[in-house]
Symmetry: D3
Subunit: 242 residues, 6 copies
């Protein structure tokens, strides 16, 4: 069980920071930093729901994800210039949206659409899980404000959620992979859990490899401990608000 390339233990998260309302135009926003990874997560509310939901009395939450071109060591071409979102972007924003929807009661929300924007300022691995974790904090702040404004019921929030990546690197299960580790990982798994310790999403991928049942068990344990820590830090970030 050796140290990792940045001296972390296998079960150690990178340094994590939440800055509530780093930008102040949206209903609520949260800048999450996980090591060098920086993501601004913002929540807006729209009184119109998507066409297929109109008149049904239920709300919706949708998420969008993007990286600044300068977020990566080698500049990433801008999707607005290419004229469409790439496959990776689409996959990530669908994951973020699904995960967050599991944490609120859409019927209690009423006919309102919440739009969550996750914009990556700097990418050093784990941007999708940082997005989910940061967005859950921003979402909770947004719901408090909507409730204070009398726009939603007080019991719309079901749970808080957190997400982390785990993987097998050099044969060892590790928590919270940075870009360097992610590039070398045999197995890469993103886990989303709520504060009741239940799974919301598990996405395990073995690009060019496979993984066994015992490895799966190890990875899920690591993920659970990491998410518990992230959820505590998120709670603290919201202290001032409550």
């Amino acid at each position: 069980m050796g140290k990792r390339h940045d001296q972390r233990d296998p079960s150690q998260l990178r340094e994590v920071n939440f800055t509530l309302d780093y930008t102040e135009m949206a209903l609520a926003s949260c800048l999450i930093e996980v090591g060098k990874t920086k993501v601004i997560c913002s929540v807006s509310a729209d009184d119109r729901v998507p066409p297929w939901l109109r008149g049904k009395g239920s709300g919706w939450l949708t998420a969008e994800y993007s990286m600044l071109p300068s977020a990566t060591r080698e500049r990433t071409p801008r999707e607005a210039v290419r004229g469409k979102q790439g496959g990776r972007t689409v996959e990530i924003q669908r994951l973020i949206g699904r995960s967050l929807r599991s944490s609120i009661d859409l019927r209690r929300l009423g006919e309102m659409e919440l739009v969550v924007d996750c914009d990556v300022l700097q990418a050093d691995g784990g941007t999708r899980t940082a997005s989910i974790t940061g967005a859950s904090v921003a979402l909770r702040a947004a719901l408090v404000r909507l409730e204070k404004a009398g726009r939603i019921r007080s019991d719309t929030l079901i749970s808080s959620i957190g997400a982390v990546s785990v993987g097998i690197v050099d044969g060892q299960a590790v928590l919270d992979l940075d870009y360097h580790e992610d590039s070398a990982a045999e197995v890469d798994m993103n886990v989303v859990m709520n504060n009741q310790g239940e799974y919301v999403e598990i996405q395990g991928t073995a690009e060019g490899a496979t993984f066994s049942k015992s490895q799966l068990v190890d990875l899920l344990k690591l993920a659970e401990s990491g998410i518990r820590t992230l959820l505590s830090l998120g709670d603290m970030a919201l202290t001032g608000l409550a």
Copy 2:
């Protein structure tokens, strides 16, 4: 442990058929039928690899997925008319490609790109897992033919893979959900395994719900038994070829 709406046991697959070379223009093709779900999986070979792989001596495999507009009870708008592939399509074809790449040795393939097309003629649930399972059979037939033609080495294939969906419906873990069950499922999980019993992909989603660790264990067991059966049937379909 009651019967399901179509009289299947919880651990029972739908009827499965493989028809090799239903269409004959591609290098190899396989029509897979799982209940009413019908998918044509075809494999083509291209001597040019994507730009970022050129001159590196390694090959690539890419997958595309589509549904005929008439494949669903309510007609699905054609993506070529809308001008882009939807998020669900992109997510599925990325999954198919990643899974199949784990079953071959890309360096042994040499500078060649295999293109796998999964076109759904009729959709009744489980189209992405049927695509993976059928495409693995077509891929194996294609590799045999490429080897006979002297275009690839004999050890390019690493494993055969199969995929199945499992889920929690009315609180019960069930195997191979059809469209009716899929719409009502609390949890939906797609599992891809190889013939060594190792995981290639696990994608578990709880849209509007969550799932516990013991439920996860039950679902993975069901999936494993289903995939073993699918792999046997796939082997039989290839008997004439070998």
Copy 3:
């Protein structure tokens, strides 16, 4: 008057098969096979007509055409991936739509849009004429079902239509060109007729050549005899239904 490369007489069709409801999600579908050419033709009904027809009491019929990437010997890039339908596709689906609209009374149809999907599973020449011929059969089945369901009047169908290609190959007028002949043809003509022996469409093209009046006469005669046979076979395919 020598034999053709596949031993057919100049005035001989390839083997033709109609399979009604090969897929069963649409209102009606027909798999037509003309030699190796295979097309699934499906008909769906939508209670909304296009915006420019709303409130006018008249219906509409629109057609879409596509080829599976694996339908051709050399894989054809997927239009949904390229982001738009090609010129050939657009031209063909406009022809199919126009032809079928001539066979029904749009005012009697009432405010309903029929959508015809022609998806080519395998292409060996004559896909546009096979699409029209197969779609006319599926359309007639669909109209019978709509009438039984009380959704349309019984006199909506005006005629049945059929289509075939004719051309000049090696100086000889031939019926129903396959891909091999089509590539070598000096003149290529698609003819659509109804069961009263009247023309619906004539599209004669001499890519890199021209044709004389007497050649035109010969080609039109061949086409008429071919279409009569196709219309008889189509009638038989619908026997079970009536």
Copy 4:
């Protein structure tokens, strides 16, 4: 055989004018006016051929067609704003290109691509046939200039071509339909012929109707006489040049 709404005989063309080099930036251009229909047809030469022709020693000709938004009584939305060319546009420019290619010897042209632009300034019916007729004149001027500049062989031109629409209006076969007649026509046919009296293209359409063999014969006769006149007028327009 009564007069038409604009007092023309059934077999009478509208007034036709050719203005060579109305614009002077292209290699050659021709403004053709047929009644109120006005089209600028221009020819440019590019030393690069399309990728699929490179190194084969043969040339190519491609055509593009467009209407100014202000060309029609009701403004037509601009295709560049909508982000794609419509189906009608694609169909027309493919027809123009095919027709013109039949009038030159692509192998003698050598590795050069001729681009023909047909831009409709005002549309009053018959824009596609006016485009072909005007473009053939511009093409002939361009070939003379290319030959003088020593860039092509003197025998590249095979024939001159002309095109006209004919149709059945109120049961009567008429030549050169204007917009008013075109909207009311039961049958609409575009015919392209060369100066040897041979057919290059025949496109007969019966939107919502059909036509008999004897009607076909009448229409083809009308078309031939009209095209002969157009070809003579085109020759005169080129007199100054030769």
Copy 5:
């Protein structure tokens, strides 16, 4: 203060011509020729305003700009084929729209959208300023006709506007640059003024250079004298109409 390459004085415009209603389908159109530059400017009226203005009792004016591919010495690719308008096009049409909106009272216009199309038939420098100048003439004709038809108030027009380019070429300030001068200019400035001598837009650009305050003063003087002349010529073109 030497002569320019085409023998003009530094403060001399090229020859200017206005042809009212060169095309006659739109509400009003004006062909403006400035030297070899030719632009058709047309005005259409639509009773619907853009969504964000509906129900507010105010009107709107929007402009679109395009060049025929054959307008330039080297053929310009067609934007409808490329699938989008280029940056230069977008910038120009926004400038035209803004400028023209300053010349009318949008509230007096009422709920109506005026669409101005500027289509460049031939480009020899100054197409954006010719478009503004020609469009102002067409707009005034259109307003007269709308007023006669009782569709707008008589005081909707605020002013007439004109535009011209000025620049520094070989160190000398010159008026109305043609393409040859434009390519060589150190500084290029487009000025839009109204008939009260007030500025509507100033856009000065020094691609690869800079300009001083005294140069700015010289350029603005030249522009003002040029625009006065253009406004007089525009008034004359409208004489017949008033």
Copy 6:
């Protein structure tokens, strides 16, 4: 000469801050804050120049501009989702690119393309001028680093540039408009100058109004004083680097 809504004098800038390398993946980056407006300006270097410059020994600089959806009080739809950049975006990034190109010697740069990304995190007016000012600082840092790495000559930088908006609000000329003032301004002018006091760009617009010569003189004076201050602050931000 009264106070403004935020208590500033007419000739007073908002508080300005430059943070060099707020993100650290690009060659250089600068976060500029002007009041609540926040823009990350990053510079990347690419050894390939655009196709039209290849082999000419000269370099290029291109700029891209975007706003986070959450940057504005009312959420702005994401351009990558809409599938294209809007007209305003295109206009702004062309202005940024042109302005910055005037500050470097492209021939001395050699065959290298500099890409400048200006991403607006929060928008409260003046985002295009903040982008230019911040990007000039990032560009200077990038050039110092490229020179140290031996990739460019030491004399590539010609000047530093700064930009500011000025306008007429309630009849009074004011410097550095925030969003509130910008919405109410009769005239809006963006001025770009270099550290020799010469103009690089002047873009004056009177949406729904006009402006006189004396107003122009006042605005240009205000702009000059504001830019001098911005250039001093930019120099200080770079002190640590030199």
